[in-house]
Chain length 230, copies 2
């Protein structure tokens, strides 16, 4: 958490967030702050509650994990405020997103061009996700997968794996990080071939190397192209 | 800067970084810390100096701006340590990268899938960059351009602009942020058509919307697909 995010949480009249994320910041929240815990999937409802309180001149903080601008609440809050003609100042506070938190744990997979793709097909049609996987794999981007799998949704990862293997060698390094940047963070470096054997859940970030990504001393490194002989 | 990064800088025996970045953190560095300022383009040299001091059991911090893992020093340090068979512990501390710092200033352009591409052709051949631009544009990724232009290097941005216009409408929202996340940060929302008219330099991040990115109350928002009528 950045000092700016911490400061905003400390100065808030109302804090709104998905219950799991509220627990992660409990130690920073002051006792007099009103807390509104929401449910996964009820993002529009949370944004409406936030705008409602802001219209009443309350200082409202809406929590996302990682960076609120990466698959987070930033967009829905801006959209709801506009739909409701609410003239309230809205500031987005950036954070450390799972892609870079996981990369740091894995080594340096993202020092070259990369693509970030969510495998959740709840809000995006699978055909669009598939097209992006094909394009990113073919153009040799390092690929970061968000929301790779949940107990009831395993088909997207199986499909993604099949697509990636069309363009990348089975031995391509793949990094798997659970709870990136949080307590209990765990990282494993495996191969594209063995990707589906890994334990992958809702809080897992998967990073697939490009054609030149290597494993160096147990860590994933995508060479940037420096000349080490100079 | 995250509290973890600040703590590492405070505890360092030696701090190594590109001179411009060293100035940005001067207030955090303790007087007794040895400072080694390097030149742009001498990344391998800086990594070697870092490894040399680490082998002597010094606590060494290598500085990148934004996130060290995104076009930063993380990779070259891991590579140099391995090449020199230096058995030193190396930790990568993640930060807020320009893509998300700029996105926060612009609104919420990155709440959907996005691709990060550096237009610097110093270390990556232009043909590879071009292929990635084509693929990302065709598959409707929001596109973040790092290192878009410098005084002596304007052709890549002109070429990128031409490629993007093959796949995106001229009125596609484009965000331009100078000094993302730093003092003096400035953001402008313009269109793809007018991209080349903007003032774009070394410390500028460019974010190009996808086919559904809109301007909402002066800010760039990529709709995530929520149903606001529910």
């Amino acid at each position: 958490m950045t000092p700016k995010a911490k400061q905003e949480i400390e100065n808030a009249d109302v804090i709104i967030g998905y219950a799991t994320y509220m627990k992660l910041i409990q130690s920073v929240i002051k006792p007099e702050t009103k807390m509104v815990s929401g449910h996964m999937g009820r993002e529009v409802e949370r944004a409406r509650i936030a705008v409602m309180h802001a219209v009443e001149n309350k200082r409202v903080v809406v929590i996302s994990s990682g960076d609120a601008g990466v698959y987070g609440m930033a967009g829905v809050v801006l959209e709801v405020a506009t739909l409701e003609n609410a003239e309230v100042p809205i500031e987005i506070v950036p954070g450390v997103t799972a892609a870079t938190a996981a990369a740091a744990k894995l080594g340096a997979p993202l020092v070259s061009d990369f693509a970030v793709i969510s495998l959740s097909d709840l809000l995006t049609p699978w055909t669009a996700i598939e097209k992006r996987l094909e394009a990113a794999a073919e153009a040799d981007f390092v690929i970061v997968l968000y929301n790779p799998q949940s107990p009831g949704r395993t088909e997207p990862l199986t499909n993604a794996h099949r697509i990636l293997l069309k363009y990348r060698k089975p031995e391509t390094p793949v990094g798997i990080v659970r709870s990136a940047g949080r307590d209990g963070e765990e990282a494993v470096v495996t191969t594209l071939e063995a990707l589906l054997d890994a334990e992958i859940g809702m809080v897992t970030t998967v990073e697939v190397g490009n054609s030149i990504t290597r494993v160096v001393n147990g860590r994933m490194v995508t060479p940037r192209g420096y000349d080490f002989l100079k």
